[in-house]
Amino acid sequence: MLSRKHFNLILSIIVLVPLFLSWADPAYAVQAHGGKEGLISHQLGHILFAGCMLFLLVTGSVNRWSGGGWDRFKCFIRLIIFWNILTFSGHWLRTGILDDKFVKLNGHVVGFRVESLLDVYYYCANLDHLILLPALLCLSVSLRKWVTSDGEDKL
């Protein structure tokens, strides 16, 4: 079994290296990844994000995790999955929406021309913070619960 020191080191590498790479100049890349590749990568990211959250939710249910912290964390998971679906579909729909749907004034978008339900859906998808914000609140509350009621949750 890995020692705690090594375990922490590996976790830190897992976190820090992608962060470093994500902020690196594209000139370091040996291959250009533009156009649809970027969108598809991002969408795959949403899928992986939602997928792992779903996995956590199922794992928690199967293992009968319980407690106040976990209940709020579940709420976070559900909202974040929903957010991922919303933003995923928003990104997807954006590829099919022409620029003339956006009403501009002095170069700034001031309105959105709604001609179908998908347009309404797209408009709503742009209000994703209305979902993300409660999700993050649930996450913070669950963390607060774990901090203040240590040991009560059965995970």
Binding site: F7, P18, S22, G45, F55, D128, L133
Partner: protein, 629 residues
């Protein structure tokens, strides 16, 4: 229909700002939780997961705020340039969150395992502590026990022993083989009792531990020890002292029985000797100086005299020879005897006498105690044929309950201790166990009667004391005589001077004697020396005679033991009728039946059988001439 876009912009800006804030907030919470227990892998993991989610949130929120700012300030080109970076960062954090998310359960299980391990370690430690505590408790209990206790496993290895065991066998150690520690053997004992414990047969047997020369009782049981092992437990009880006391007790019981037998025989012999001596004296008086029979009769008389001495010794041993008690000072008694003892031991033996400086008073028969001293010194002398030293000492000792355990006859109180020690050949254990038995002697035939130490034993017991003997072959023997210290008022003891044998002047004596031969000789001795005798063989007959001739009787001379009563009863009844009646009592031995204490209390004159003619006439004369009450 055109929907306003400003809600989208404001939700984006406000939402991003708040998300940014909450992102940091979440990191703060997670960090605090992690810091509470930094070695908790799950907390560490959750911190990193939170950081990755917060990073996404911060990255995205920051990007959106920058986007709205750039768009609002007509810097669309700048946003277009940096937008891919923001999107890529978000994508990267998604992957990061995925990576952490799928490991959530795995890390939790690792954490659980670590917790379980920690719990298991804690439980093991608690169990070890409990076992240690239990062992400490058991040790303290076992150490408080006065028996030696030890534990061995099935490989004969000593696992535990208590304080007493260490005292008994100082060389014992843990892991040592029991057969080495106890019996100094190199292999298990052939008859190892522990084998039987496997089939549930506990054992208890007595043996001798030769290593330490102690007699012990070993009891064994099978039990489960604190570490849950099946082990053999043995309890060793030191019974050396108990066995010694048992042997002493048996010895004293044996001596008691022999004493009773000897006393009974001596009583009958006394009656016979009274007749022999009496008739010898009568015959001797009737023969003139030229008669050839005088020598023969003299031999009979002397042989009877020696027999009487033997009988007196037997009576002394059987404690039925009552002496005349007087308060004497032991140091003075020994001092007076010193010259005589010097002559006894001879020139090649020296005597070292160390007497206590304090006066040591005892209430004893001085003659008997002198005999004790003489017998013990003679015994020491005979134990040193090549010469040596005899040490005699006296001291006052206080005997406590602990000291009493050493000797069955010992009693607590203040005692005079007279010690007589020699540097002679010593005695082995068998000899020591028999040395006080009458007629037991290691001397050549004719050189010792075997009654010397038996007499000592009887006399000391009779004086409510006891004697201790310790001896070692080749090193010598020590006798310790304990006599009760007298703390009453000292009374001077005076001895009466001898004079010519007085004769009777026709005084009438009522002789009560149930033994015909004794009666016959006594009648002859009295009548041939000026007395008139009327006889009775029992209490009833005596009462008839007395009723008939009450006023003409000058002396009641009665045996103590009568077939239908006692001489004491006669004395009581006759003196009730005639208070001034002189009385003389006689007996072959003095025991409870004879009511010796009553005789002493009433101060009745007493004549010990077998008596000579002279002793009889002198006693009768003294009683008749003593002032009437």
């Amino acid at each position: 229909m055109i929907l306003p876009w400003w809600p989208v912009v404001w939700v984006d800006i406000v939402g991003s700002a708040l998300s940014l804030l909450i992102g940091f907030w979440c990191i703060g919470y997670s960090w605090s939780w992690y810091r509470e227990q930094e070695d908790d892998a799950f907390r560490h993991y959750l911190l990193l997961l939170t950081i990755s989610i917060a990073t996404f949130t911060i990255s995205r929120s920051f990007g959106h705020i920058v986007k709205q700012f750039l768009l609002h300030t007509d810097q669309r080109e700048v946003w277009s340039a940096i937008s891919p970076f923001s999107g890529a960062a978000n994508t990267a954090t998604f992957i990061l969150i995925f990576a952490f998310g799928i490991y959530f359960d795995r890390i939790r299980k690792i954490k659980d395992q670590a917790d379980n391990d920690a719990v298991a370690v804690a439980m093991a430690r608690t169990a070890a502590d409990a076992a240690l505590e239990s062992e400490v408790r058991i040790r303290s209990i076992f150490d408080g026990v006065e028996d030696a206790i030890y534990l061995v496993d099935d490989d004969y290895k000593v696992l535990f022993f208590n304080r007493k065991m260490k005292e008994l066998l100082p060389g014992i150690s843990i892991e040592q083989k029991c057969y080495e520690a106890l019996f100094n053997r190199e292999a298990p004992c052939d008859d190892c009792r522990f084998h039987g414990l496997h089939s549930g047969e506990n054992f208890s047997y007595e043996t001798e531990l030769e290593l330490i020369s102690k007699k012990v009782n070993i009891t064994g049981i099978r039990l489960t020890w604190v570490d849950q092992r099946e082990v053999n437990l043995a309890v060793i009880r030191d019974i050396t002292e108990q066995k010694r006391l048992e042997e002493q007790f048996l010895q004293s019981q044996k001596l008691e029985a022999v004493g009773t037998l000897a006393g009974g025989i001596a009583h009958d012999f006394n009656n016979l000797l009274t007749a022999i001596i009496g008739y010898s004296d009568i015959i001797m008086i009737g023969l003139d100086d030229q008669n050839a029979m005088r020598d023969d009769v003299g031999e009979i008389r002397r042989a009877a005299g020696r027999a009487a001495v033997l009988v007196r010794q037997l009576l002394a041993f059987s404690r039925k020879q009552k002496g005349v008690l007087a308060v004497i000072e032991v140091n003075q008694l020994i001092g007076n005897m010193q010259k005589m003892l010097d002559r006894l031991i001879g020139e090649d033996i020296s005597m070292d006498i160390q007497l206590a400086t304090d006066k040591l008073l005892v209430r004893v028969d001085p003659g008997q105690i002198e005999q004790v001293a003489v017998n013990l010194v003679v015994n020491s002398r005979d134990a040193m044929p090549d010469g040596g030293n005899i040490f005699i000492s006296t001291e006052e000792v206080v005997v406590d309950a602990q000291l009493c355990l050493r000797h069955p006859g010992a009693k607590p109180g203040r005692f005079v201790l007279m010690t007589i020690r020699d540097e002679g050949v010593g005695m082995d254990k068998e000899l020591v166990s028999k040395v006080f038995e009458p007629f037991y002697t290691t001397k050549e035939v004719g050189k010792g009667s075997g009654l010397g130490l038996a007499v000592v034993y009887g006399i000391i017991e009779q004086h409510n004391g006891w004697i201790e003997l310790s001896s070692e072959v080749g090193k010598g023997t020590e006798f310790k005589v304990y006599l009760p210290l007298y703390d009453g008022v000292e009374k001077a003891k005076t001895r009466k001077e001898k004079g010519d044998i007085p004769l009777g002047a026709g005084e009438r004596i009522l002789l009560v004697e149930d033994q015909p031969e004794v009666m016959k000789v006594a009648v002859s001795m009295l009548e041939q020396n000026g007395y008139k005798v009327v006889t009775a063989a029992s209490l009833a007959e005596a009462e008839e005679v007395f009723a008939r001739e009450k006023d003409s009787i000058d002396l009641l001379f009665s045996d103590i033991v009568l077939p239908d009563g006692s001489g004491i009863m006669l004395e009581e009844r006759f003196r009730a009728l005639r208070p001034d009646l002189p009385v003389l009592m006689s007996s072959g031995y003095a025991d409870d039946k004879m009511q010796w204490s009553l005789i002493q209390k009433r101060n009745l004159p007493f004549l010990q059988k077998p008596y000579t003619l002279e002793a009889l006439l002198r006693s009768v004369s003294q009683v008749l001439s003593s002032p009437k009450d």
